[in-house]
Assembly symmetry: C2
Homo-oligomer: 172 residues x 2
Amino acid sequence: MAEKDASATAALTEPRCSVARSAQLLADRWSVLIVRDAFRGVTRFSDFRSRLGIPSDILTARLNKLVESGVFERRPYRDDGGRERLGYHLTESGRALLPVLGALVQWGDTYRASEYGPSRIYRSATTGERLRVAFVTESGEVIADENVEVVAGPGEIDDVAPYRPGLAPSNP
Amino acid sequence: MAEKDASATAALTEPRCSVARSAQLLADRWSVLIVRDAFRGVTRFSDFRSRLGIPSDILTARLNKLVESGVFERRPYRDDGGRERLGYHLTESGRALLPVLGALVQWGDTYRASEYGPSRIYRSATTGERLRVAFVTESGEVIADENVEVVAGPGEIDDVAPYRPGLAPSNP
DNA sequence: ACGATGAGTTTGAAAAACAAACCTATCTCT
DNA sequence: AGAGATAGGTTTGTTTTTCAAACTCATCGT
């Protein structure tokens, strides 16, 4: 209850590393699949439930967490001859997860390919061209992964080395 | 042991959806952080352990899983006056996860920003320009998320609608 | 009033994660 | 040769989380 507790909690639950913060929310067996299905147009509790085969208490818990963290918002809807209910819709923040899913799909299709071929294909809505996920500069130039380096930002606490693709990690 | 079992198992453990396959491997509390640290140059069991605060039995299990699935490979090393040991190094497949981490960082920095600023910054190794993750065509044109659509591929089993950014998911 | 339906809760059993102690092979030092 | 030291794990017993199945609750059309 004291401020000390609040900040101690924050230190534990709000790590400085974005990967850790994002992972805290998304890195469990179900959350990613829930978001994936949301991008496929699923909004209803019972649809998530039947498509994923997820226990309903877990679904409740995950949806609550995702709503609290602003990935989903609840929006009322009503079927003909039905009571008003709440559907789960991606917010702007939720829709911004598309590149995460895109990157995941791309990796899965490349390195853990299924015998059936890709199940989802990313295309330009305007030209229909096939898309992939890549690093780009602000001026729109595509940079190959081998030419990407990762360095410490202001939030970095760690004394760890930058990642440089040429210099293989630590012990070559 | 019969073929039937094998394929039934495959159906359960090797879903057609790349998101599901990738998530199966990476979407747990620790795997993402292990891979993140690997990109920061960590290779040793004890370094993963002390940096992450992960129980060692869990770390063993995760590293085994990641080695089995080809994200890491074990490589022997020897410190001065030490016995030979095995380090864990990202394979090509593991290094190909960089865009996944990049996308995750970008989302976290944007929608769940820490008060300290980003902890890791992605730059061009050649020009130093700041990078972001985006969808691009094969000819290198950057496509905004709003102009990305996702359609069923050959592996799709589902009768679900394509994702189109304009047409808000299902219940607008 | 009555049953149907969607969206959850509750309950008790099974699986996974956890912390801490322990083990093991090889090294250095004596 | 024997005594630590150390990295990299296993083992053990407890706590959390997940799971499946049953149950509740509010509201609808009949």
